[in-house]
Amino acid sequence: MVHPVIKLVAQRLALGLLLLLAASVLIFVGTQILPGDVAQSILGQSATPESLANLRAELGLNDPPVTRYFNWLLAAMQGDLGTALTNGQDIAQAMGKRLGNTLFLAATAAVIAVPLAILLGLIAVRYQGRWPDKVISTVTLATVSVPEFLLGYILVYLLSVKLRLFPSLATIYDTMSLGEKLYAISMPTLVLVLVVLGHMMRMTRAAILNVMQSAYVETAELKGLRPFTIIARHAFPNAIAPVVNVVMLNLAYLVVGVVVVEVVFVYPGMGQYLVDHVSKRDVPVVQACGLVFAAVYIGLNILADVISILANPRLRHPK
C-alpha cells in the first residue's frame, strides 16, 4: 500500500500541473480572444489594411484560436517562447538572464525577511499587548499601508539622497563580484524585505497566538516554564504548518512585488521586461512572462501545501 502522505503529495502536484495548464489557457484567452483584434490594438486605429494583414499572418491570427493555443503551448513546453514583436529577439534567451537576476533579488530578500519575520512574530507574541508588540505592529502596519513603489522612493530619498548610504539605482553586470552585486541590490532588497516583513510578521503572530490558546500551552504555563521556552518549544512546532503557509504565500507575493520594485530601481529583471513590453503591446513577450510568473506563483503555493502536509505528524505516522 502506498503511504498516504505520498498519495496526498502526488495529488497536490497533479492539481498544480492542472492549474498551471488552466492558467495558460486563461493567459492565452486574455490576450487573444478579446473584443476586437490583437493586430488592430497593437498597430492602432491608423494602421493600413496591408500592415494589419501582415501582422495577422505573422501572429498566426488566421488560424483558429484552438490551433494557435496548442501551437503556443507545445512550443512553450519545449522551451521555445517565440520571438518578440518589437525587436525580433528570441524571448527565451532574453528572459533567461533576467529570470536569474529576478530570482537572485527575490532570494536575497527572502533570506533576510523570513527569519526576521518569524523572530519578530515570536517577540510580538511573547510581549503581547506590551510595548515591543505595539511598536512592531505599528511599524509593520505602516509599511504595509504604503505601496511598494512609494516605499522605494521614500527609502531612496532618505538613504540614498540624504544619507548617501546606498546606490539609488540597482545596475548589475556579469563581471561584478557577489559582494558588489549584493551592494548594488541593497535598496530593492530592503524595500522587498519591508513589504513582505509586515505581512509575514502579522500572519506569523496570528498563527502562533492561535496555537497559544491550546490546552497544552496552558499546561506548559502551569508547569512553570519560561514564556519564551513555551513559545519556542511548545507553540512554535505546532504553528509550523500555518507559518510555512504564511511564508510561502508571502514569497509568492514577493514575486509580484518584484515587478514594481524592479521598475523603481531600474533593475534588469523579469518585472521590468514585462512592464516594458506591456506598454509596447508586445503580446508574445507578455504571454511568456505571464506564464513564467504564474508558474512560479502556482509552484510556491503547491510547495506550501506539500510542506504543511509533511509537517503534520498525524499524516506522517498513520495508525
Binding site: 486563461l26 478579446l34 499601508s145 512609494l150 540614498s160 515587478v259 512592464v275 505571464g290
Partner: protein, 272 residues
C-alpha cells in the same frame, strides 16, 4: 446612543475629508489641473502650498484632482467587484451543486495568477481607458469578494430561518436579498473598506507603471511617476502622494476595524 471610539472618529474624519476633497475638487483646488503656473519644482510657498511639479503645475491642485481620479476609479471598481462578487457568492451558496462547483473552481483559477500579472496581461491588448481600468480591476477583485461572501453565506444558509423561508416556498432571489444579505452585510461592509484601499493601491501601482490613468489626467500614482526624477536631487514632490495614500489607507482601515468589532459584539445581543 452609540459611542464611537476615538480611533474610529479619527478614521471617519479623515476618510470624509478625502471623499469631500474628491467630490468638490473643482471648487477647492487653487489652480487648474493642467495649468502651468510656475517654474519646475518650486519649493513650498504661500502661493504654491506644496510647491510645483516637474513641469511647473501647482502640486496641491494636482494632488486634489489626482485624489478625485484615484478615489473615483477605486470606488467604482469596488462597487463593481462587490455587486458582482457578492451576488455570485450568494448564488453559489444558495444553489450549491454544480453552480457552486463551476463558480468556485473558476474563481480558484483566476486567483492562481497574481492580479497584477493578470491585469498587465489584459492591458497589453486593451486600450487603457477609465472604463476598461475599472472593469479589469473590478472583475479581478470580484474573485476575492466571491470567496468571502460565499463563505459567509454558506454559514447563513444552514440557519433555521433560511430553512423556514424555503419551506414557506420563497423564491431564491427573495432568500438571497431578504434573508442572507441583511445578515451578511456587516462583514461585507468591513471587507469593502479593505478592498477599497487595495483598489487605491492597485490603480496607483498601475499608473506608476504607466499603464493606468493616462496624462494629462492626474492621479496619485501618476504624480509619483512624473516627479520621480526629482528625488535624486532631493526634491520630495514625488513623496507627497505617499503621505496621501498612507493616511487614506490607515483611516479607512480604522473605520473598517470599528465596523467589524461593532458587529461582532452585536452577535452577543442587540442593543446591549
Amino acid at each position: 446612543m452609540m459611542r464611537i471610539p476615538l480611533a474610529a472618529m479619527i478614521g471617519l474624519f479623515f476618510t470624509a475629508l478625502y471623499f469631500l476633497g474628491a467630490i468638490f475638487a473643482g471648487w477647492i483646488a487653487p489652480y487648474g489641473m493642467a495649468e502651468i503656473v510656475g517654474d519646475s519644482w518650486e519649493p513650498w510657498s504661500a502661493t504654491h502650498l506644496l510647491g510645483t511639479d516637474s513641469i511647473g503645475r501647482d502640486l496641491l491642485s494636482r494632488m486634489i484632482f489626482g485624489g478625485q481620479t484615484t478615489i473615483f476609479v477605486a470606488a467604482a471598481a469596488t462597487v463593481l467587484s462587490f455587486t458582482l462578487g457578492s451576488s455570485l457568492g450568494f448564488l453559489a451558496a444558495v444553489r450549491g451543486g454544480w453552480v457552486d462547483q463551476l463558480l468556485s473552481r473558476g474563481v480558484d483559477l483566476v486567483m492562481s495568477i497574481p492580479s497584477l500579472i493578470s491585469a498587465l496581461v489584459v492591458l497589453s491588448v486593451m486600450p487603457v481607458t477609465l472604463p476598461i481600468l475599472i472593469l479589469v480591476m473590478g472583475l479581478l477583485d470580484a474573485t476575492r469578494v466571491f470567496r468571502l461572501s460565499r463563505a459567509v453565506a454558506v454559514d447563513i444558509t444552514v440557519m433555521d430561518y433560511v430553512e423556514a423561508a424555503r419551506l414557506r416556498g420563497e423564491r431564491q432571489l427573495w432568500i438571497i436579498f431578504r434573508e442572507i444579505l441583511p445578515n451578511a452585510l456587516s462583514p461585507l461592509i468591513a471587507e469593502m473598506g479593505l478592498r477599497f484601499i487595495f483598489m487605491v493601491l492597485f490603480i496607483s501601482t498601475l499608473s506608476f507603471l504607466g499603464l493606468g490613468i493616462q496624462p494629462p489626467l492626474a492621479d496619485w500614482g501618476g504624480i509619483v511617476k512624473e516627479n520621480k526624477e526629482g528625488i535624486v536631487y532631493g526634491i520630495p514632490a514625488a513623496l507627497i502622494p505617499a503621505f496621501a495614500i498612507a493616511t487614506l489607507a490607515i483611516s479607512v482601515n480604522l473605520v473598517a476595524d470599528w465596523v467589524l468589532t461593532r458587529t461582532t459584539s452585536l452577535k452577543g445581543g442587540r442593543g446591549g
